[in-house]
Symmetry: C2
Subunit: 226 residues, 2 copies
DNA sequence: CGCTGCAATTTGACACTGTAAACTTTCCAC
DNA sequence: GTGGAAAGTTTACAGTGTCAAATTGCAGCG
């Protein structure tokens, strides 16, 4: 399951290198500047940190002039939102991978996506911070008809479904799980939750904290139908 | 209990207006620039938002030149850390107030401090974001021998004590509670957790989510001794 | 083929920010 | 008083976001 971590970043990119219009060689127009800028931003975020993520630096890394990004993003906020959106896609893949490698037991599957959640927060702390920055998250998660598949909420929702009592709002269980795991992911980077180690990437407190979810009763087993 | 909210900010300040050295009239040295800058920063944070919190703006609001803060803080990061530290003091008072207005029941007390936690996040979203910004929180919570009373963790710890099973590490329950409430506070500002209303400041999902903590067994009643 | 039009990119400029150095003022200790 | 440290000011410089005005390269059309 740890195989899912450390993925090659470019293989996760969505907009990156689309059909590539057949030998679009050295067009002065660069061709795909927008995805190139997003990738540059992700690289800066990972290698240099959130405070180094600037418009001009992204432009330089993509090999264009400092004002070029203005034609593809609505200011620096737009660039950050686009990078966050790409981050949510990687984030979702982390949870999907973790879930796919789990068994059929609802509790095991829930723990799995939580582990994927935390793996992502550990692997990309600056990207995680950018994505869940109060300002950015509002923009990204409330985009026009933004589907749950764009931010991974669908994976969480799906894994919470077995624990939803009939006749109750699913968002209750979803909020419980999401709050717990997101709070853990945020606070873990404090250092107060114990140091991380290569063989224990989620820290020694991950399992005990997530044990709180073991008490959730199973109302519906998605495998066996109703 | 809602009395505790909307406190006059200056009354919460710690460094603000110390002994005031007896008619320190119009000293060109301003006297108490450091606390004045912190208060200016808090005002900017509340009135204008986190992105407007700059060294020069704080200096202007305090009525000094733009380079004056350099003599009191280690760059802009130092100013932000100092403001966050002041924020943690207010934050702690929010939890203390909420707890003091609760009864003796351990679960009720725990719910109370969680409500104080969320009240603070709702009242000061930008300050909340600054305080729990991954970069800043590390500085503030890991200051030299920073006691738990400086960031409110002592209040949380105290309220979790009744739920700590004998022979187990208290940090487990503390992490469970803190993760849940902090995650809720962070994610609430997404808008996904339902709109806030004046008479329901924590949103409609607060109670259902915190119900997860009702299952915690009480091992020790602090009122009746062991 | 040459021309126009358009979109992408560049260049230049401006305001704002953080930071450092040099300077000025104020006050305290001696 | 005098020296010196502390507190603030002034000046300067490198980055940053953003805008307006060129400039470049391509596509379509005469």
């Amino acid at each position: 399951m740890t195989l899912s971590r450390g993925l090659i970043l470019s293989s996760q990119m969505s907009e990156l290198s689309p059909p590539s219009p057949l030998s679009n060689k050295a067009a002065h127009h660069h061709g795909n500047l927008r995805p190139a800028l997003i990738e540059a931003g992700l690289g800066i975020l990972i290698e240099e940190g959130l405070d180094k993520l600037t418009l001009r630096r992204c432009a330089a890394r993509a090999g264009v002039s400092h004002a070029a990004p203005a034609h593809h993003f609505d200011g620096v906020a737009g660039l950050r939102a686009a990078i966050a959106q790409e981050g949510f896609r990687i984030f979702r893949n982390y949870m999907l991978d973790a879930r796919n490698n789990a068994g059929a037991d609802p509790h095991a599957r829930l723990r799995a996506i939580c582990r994927g959640y935390i793996y992502f927060a550990v692997d990309f702390p600056d990207l995680f911070e950018l994505m869940f920055n109060n300002k950015v998250i509002k923009d990204v998660t409330s985009l026009p008809a933004q589907p749950d598949t764009a931010n991974g909420y669908d994976v969480l929702k799906d894994s919470c479904a077995p624990f939803v009592a009939p006749g109750t709002d699913p968002v209750v269980v979803e909020s419980q799980v999401w709050s717990l795991v997101h709070g853990f992911g945020s606070l873990m980077q404090t250092g107060r939750f114990g140091g991380l180690s290569p063989d224990d990437p989620c820290g020694p407190l991950f399992a005990p904290v997530m044990a709180l979810l073991d008490q959730l009763p199973v109302y519906r087993d998605p495998q066996s139908g109703a």
